[in-house]
């Protein structure tokens, strides 16, 4: 037992304590953030949130129009984003595989997956809002769809490639054309992965704020007009949280609690479900 031995042991132990502390720190931040949202949000939760519109400064109100607007835009995003993403995923996994186009698409797709969403929002502004000359719920939905596409492409590509080749071979041996093989055999086999990916994508876009700032903008009143500005939860939270009014701030916390609960529960359920499927 010399001092070098002790020194090495000491460094080893210290490193391990530091690693444990780093993990603890990560968990502390998670629970601090969740606790902040819950403790501030719970006191602001009331049935009125779901029955009344966003109020003018100083007055009481709810978030009904914002929740509705967010729901509509997420639906648009799913309707626009999922088919395109799924088709591209099928191309990558079935037709392209190792072609140059496929690797280029995978590369670009992975970059779009992490690209700044605010730039995508500006892009939709230039593409849709400027020609239409006004902000609209439609453009907000398109912006969210644009963010959803890369998520769906990646997960559908990966889950389709997980389907064993003998399934394809068996289907081809029956004389099925490619599209039937994809639609009736491979989709069924890869369905849980594809749905998991799409739901995680939905969880992600429902919290996106930046791209909505200059596409859907916001609307204080009830509106179901996709051609005009549409209220939505993230932007309402942003505006109300930054405002000096108490009633607005507590509404922002209520909205934050609803949003966080929705996103985290969706994430947890999907992940637990997906894990169980993998273990089977």
């Amino acid at each position: 037992m010399n001092w070098i031995y002790f020194r090495r042991q000491f460094i080893d132990r210290t490193a391990y304590v530091c690693a444990a502390l780093a993990t603890l720190l990560g968990l502390v931040f998670l629970f601090w953030i969740l606790w902040t949202t819950i403790s501030n949000g719970v006191s602001a939760i009331s049935p009125k949130l779901f029955t009344e519109m966003t109020p003018p400064p100083g007055a009481e109100g709810g978030l009904l129009n914002a929740l509705f607007g967010s729901g509509v835009m997420i639906l648009i995003a799913i309707v626009v984003g999922t088919p395109i993403g799924l088709c591209a995923g099928v191309y990558l996994a079935e037709h392209g595989r190792h072609t140059r186009l496929a690797s280029a698409v995978r590369f670009v797709n992975d970059i779009l997956l992490s690209a700044p969403s605010i730039v995508l929002g500006l892009f939709v502004y230039e593409l849709v809002v400027v020609p239409m000359k006004h902000f609209s719920g439609l453009s907000g939905g398109l912006a969210l769809g644009l963010i959803l596409i890369p998520v769906v492409v990646r997960t559908s590509d990966e889950s389709l490639r997980l389907v064993p080749d003998r399934m394809r071979e068996a289907a081809f041996a029956l004389g099925l054309p490619r599209w039937k093989v994809s639609m009736q055999v491979l989709f069924k086999a890869a369905m849980s992965g594809i749905v998991t990916g799409a739901l995680l994508g939905v969880a992600r876009i429902s919290g996106e704020t930046a791209p909505l700032l200059f596409t859907a903008l916001n609307n204080q009143f009830w509106s179901s007009d996709l051609n005009g500005p549409l209220a939505n939860l993230p932007v309402v939270i942003f505006q109300y949280a930054m405002s000096p009014y108490d009633t607005w701030q507590s509404l922002a916390w209520a909205g934050a609690l609803i949003l966080t609960t929705f996103v985290l529960v969706l994430n947890l359920v999907v992940r637990l479900f997906a894990n169980r499927r993998v273990f089977k």
């Binding site: 968990l27 071979e169 939270i237």
Partner: protein
């Protein structure tokens, strides 16, 4: 987020996965479409749709780049190179120089990485070596949830909880203890108001931890057992194993993960907008409010009333997009190299 196994092609019992996969391609793919089924319209339609969607993904990237470049052209043409070097952001007189937001973006991202990298590697080490087996899954999931929390929630937490915490506990301490140190002193002087580059950087750091940690954990897990065991046999402590075996072996993946985190940090908008203070002054002190590219766009775009103002903001977005594209490309190339290597060693 898994960068390892699930996406791997299924390797046949006889070895190299790449070769079997490519063979399967020619048999199932190219022959299938060209020989037997050409001319059958649903088949053509299906091929056209899927191929079109794949091109569409490429098109998005090109269209975004083009649209930002053309939108920002007016600003680039008017100010030339001074757009990047001038710190004058004068809305009233139509003078726009982007130095402050660029500087703020770079500084906050740098702080984020300084904080996130060691913590992420610590988390990966804890999850692969130390934690009891039954706790690994839940802890890993909790860390991944950090990535799922919407950024606007980070922003609210940062503004209402973390910034006051920094202002009352951390920043006065930094003022007292580091403020008078010769070279780095000026970084830590200034009023402890809680809102500023340091706070924004830390919040960003917390946000990118899950991205770096999850890649690091995956590659730590994928270090071949033979390497690990050799180190153990030589009598290396676990720390020495990390420094001399695990980290060198996974170096390019870790660098890739760091670049991935950097790409995320550069473009992060809402959290930064809340805690950065939206100030267009250049200051050395990390405790002072500043601005970032994304925050400037988020705060000012809907208020931009002149064509030049809007164009300047879009020019900022163009630069942000190009820089994140480069950073994320590096990340992707580094990670792709690792995936290929791991395919071979398995």
């Amino acid at each position: 987020m898994d960068t390892t196994d699930p996406s791997k092609p299924q390797a046949g019992p006889s070895g190299d996965p790449d070769v079997t996969d490519r063979r399967a391609d020619t048999e199932l793919g190219i022959a299938g479409t060209t020989m037997r089924t050409r001319g059958v319209w649903p088949e053509r339609l299906f091929h056209a749709f899927t191929g079109g969607a794949a091109w569409f993904v490429l098109l998005i990237l090109l269209a975004v780049t083009y649209s930002m470049a053309s939108g920002g052209w007016l600003a680039f043409k008017t100010f030339g190179f001074a757009f990047v070097t001038s710190d004058k952001w004068d809305v009233v007189n139509g003078q726009f120089g982007a130095l402050v937001p660029i500087y703020g973006t770079l500084v906050t991202s740098a702080i984020a990485l300084i904080i996130a990298v060691p913590i992420s590697i610590g988390i990966a080490l804890f999850l692969t070596e130390i934690a009891p087996a039954w706790t690994r899954q839940p802890i890993a999931m909790a860390i991944e949830l950090l990535a799922a929390v919407p950024s606007i929630i980070y922003g609210m937490w940062g503004l209402f909880m973390f910034a006051p915490f920094m202002a009352t506990h951390i920043e006065p301490w930094l003022n007292d203890h580091l403020g008078s140190v010769p070279i780095i002193g000026p970084l830590f002087t200034g009023p402890p108001i809680g809102i500023g580059m340091l706070t924004a950087g830390i919040v960003l750091g917390i946000m990118v931890i899950p991205f770096i940690a999850s890649v690091a954990r995956d590659v730590f897990n994928a270090v071949p057992a033979s390497l690990r065991e050799s180190a153990v046999a030589l009598g290396a402590t676990r720390w020495e194993r990390l420094c001399h075996v695990t980290l060198p072996h996974t170096r390019s993946a870790i660098v890739g993960a760091i670049f991935l985190g950097l790409g995320r940090a550069l473009g992060e908008t809402m959290a930064v907008t809340f805690v950065l203070g939206n100030a267009h002054d250049l200051s050395v002190s990390l405790l002072m409010p500043s601005n970032s590219i994304a925050a400037a766009i988020a705060n000012e775009f809907t208020e931009a009333d002149t064509a030049l103002y809007r164009s300047s903001l879009i020019a900022l977005a163009f630069m942000l997009f190009v820089v994140t594209f480069i950073v994320l490309s590096i990340a992707k190339l580094m990670l792709a190299r690792v995936e290929r290597n791991m395919g071979r060693t398995h």
